[in-house]
Subunit: 312 residues, 2 copies
């Protein structure tokens, strides 16, 4: 282990989209923009800001065009938006997005339940969107869900994951995020899957998207780093619940990821203190404590310090 | 990584002592015994049940002798108790304990603040207790705190940690638990420390004791496994806060550890469902949600299932 750790890791912040889309209560557009701009100011360089999806499906994302139009970020920060179909792509393009993200599942059952399509139909949609994106010189990120464990089928067939990964790259996506959607993977599963990706050029464009539902997210990141992965998704404060287990922890928290990488001497460009400020802001926005470990430890230390200062 | 994973790992459950000792509210002796017996029934084979410490220091542990006398466990379960000095050792011995645990810090500042002794004075106490324990054929476990990061001194000097580890084995302890007391270590620090322990016989008797304060506990376990460690401490539900950051996560949760090991095909002897029952019981005892990730995910799934069943 650690024979060939990368000098630098790309963090893709998915909180404003993957986190907020699960919020039942409406989050005002101004608050979303405030959070995205704070995330940009913390040194994060890649932020998925919204989803151009039908408001009938996800009402929380009905303001996608407004968010995209109004958010102000330094030129060093790239943004992307999720699109489920060509219609969503056209809206994203009209809003000036330079990168979009498409998604599909690695198992038939999850594909059916999540987007009401077979895997083959989902691939067709991706082909359609990628063709349009290429024509418009828009970068495409792909998400492949439930690559380790599926809530309906149990352990996912890794050969099928590799087949779909290859297919997505063949179609022309620029980056592929492999998702442990229910947060059930262990490090050996990460190693086993990545051992099957033998093309170094593909490996360099693969991101890992972990959920911390069972506490294994950073152990899985470590296994990913050890397998040559240099891109990881995370969400501020761990925002974004697991729809299969309400109340449980969901996305890997950006602060936990950034802390571990920073302790390991791996550059991320992120200012941890500013990230904690963002986590605090995210908590104010969703009006509850978020599950991120580093966030809670840091906010608790800050509160203790303030108490000591106030008593002096 | 994973070139030489162990077939089996020894989990040392420290919840009843390390977890409960930090509880402000008195926990009735009956409840403690109920929890310890449930932990034994879950397949855990090593449980630190109490601490023979002055009730003036830790009132929560005033019932140590009663707990030790009354708890009923299968013969396959070994128990131990923490002792701070010879007086505590004599009480533990009188209570029939077959294993005790001594403790000291790896930094002068933490040693002073925690037990009001220099490191040299703490070593003298250990010498005294170990001599008495050897005479009584009682097994001795040693805890060395703040081996990676100290809340007062920052990064701990690894050479000093190795010196103290060697000294403790030389004195005659049977097992040594190295503690990331403030939960700040990252996997590279674990690897770096263990690379300095060159004696294979010592390595086989070293346990790692992680806190999940910043989410890195299981990543650190992975680094430990990869360095040849086969003994890990954990606490049911992650019980046992971090005194330096009230409200933050403390001990690594036993369920999280057992889940990851089980997914990796490493035997622990533990039944995960029964462990979740223990976590639920621990929550009832301390009257709040515990930070363990697997516990919360599992309890949430159970609640969802019950809701579905009730509506059918």
């Amino acid at each position: 282990m650690f024979d060939a750790l990368p000098d630098e890791v790309k963090i893709v912040e998915v909180g404003p989209r993957d986190g907020l889309q699960n919020e039942a209560e409406h989050v005002p557009t101004d608050k979303k923009i405030q959070l995205i701009e704070a995330l940009g100011a913390s040194g994060l360089r890649h932020i998925e800001i919204t989803s151009f999806v039908s408001p009938k499906w996800i009402p929380q994302m009905a303001d996608a065009a407004e968010v995209a139009a109004r958010v102000k970020l330094p030129p060093s920060v790239s943004t992307s938006a999720l699109v489920p179909n060509l219609k969503g792509f056209e809206s994203a393009k009209a809003s000036g997005m330079k990168e979009i993200a498409v998604f599909m599942s690695a198992t038939e059952s999850h594909s059916q339940k999540n987007i009401n399509k077979t895997i083959a139909q989902a691939v067709d949609t991706v082909v359609e969107i990628v063709a349009a994106a290429k024509a418009a010189k828009i970068r495409v990120r792909g998400y492949l869900s439930v690559v380790f464990e599926c809530p309906y089928e149990g352990q996912t067939n890794l050969v099928e994951v590799v087949r779909l990964s290859n297919r997505l790259f063949e179609i022309g996506i620029d980056e592929l995020s492999l998702g442990d959607t229910i947060g059930a993977a262990a490090p050996n599963q990460v190693k086993n899957l990545l051992a099957l990706i033998t093309d170094a050029k593909e490996l360099a464009r693969i991101a890992l998207h972990f959920h911390d539902t069972r506490g294994t997210a950073l152990a899985n990141v470590l296994a990913g780093l050890d397998s040559g992965i240099t891109i990881f998704d995370s969400s501020i404060g761990g925002m974004g619940g697991c729809p299969y287990a309400p109340g449980a922890a969901g996305n890997l928290a950006t602060e936990d990821l950034a802390y571990m990488l920073s302790q390991m001497g791996i550059k991320t460009g992120v200012d941890l203190e500013k990230l904690v400020d963002c986590g605090q802001l995210a908590q104010e926005i969703v009006k509850r404590k978020l599950p991120g470990r580093y966030l809670q430890a840091c906010l608790s230390s800050r509160a203790k310090r303030q108490k000591v200062e106030a008593s002096q």
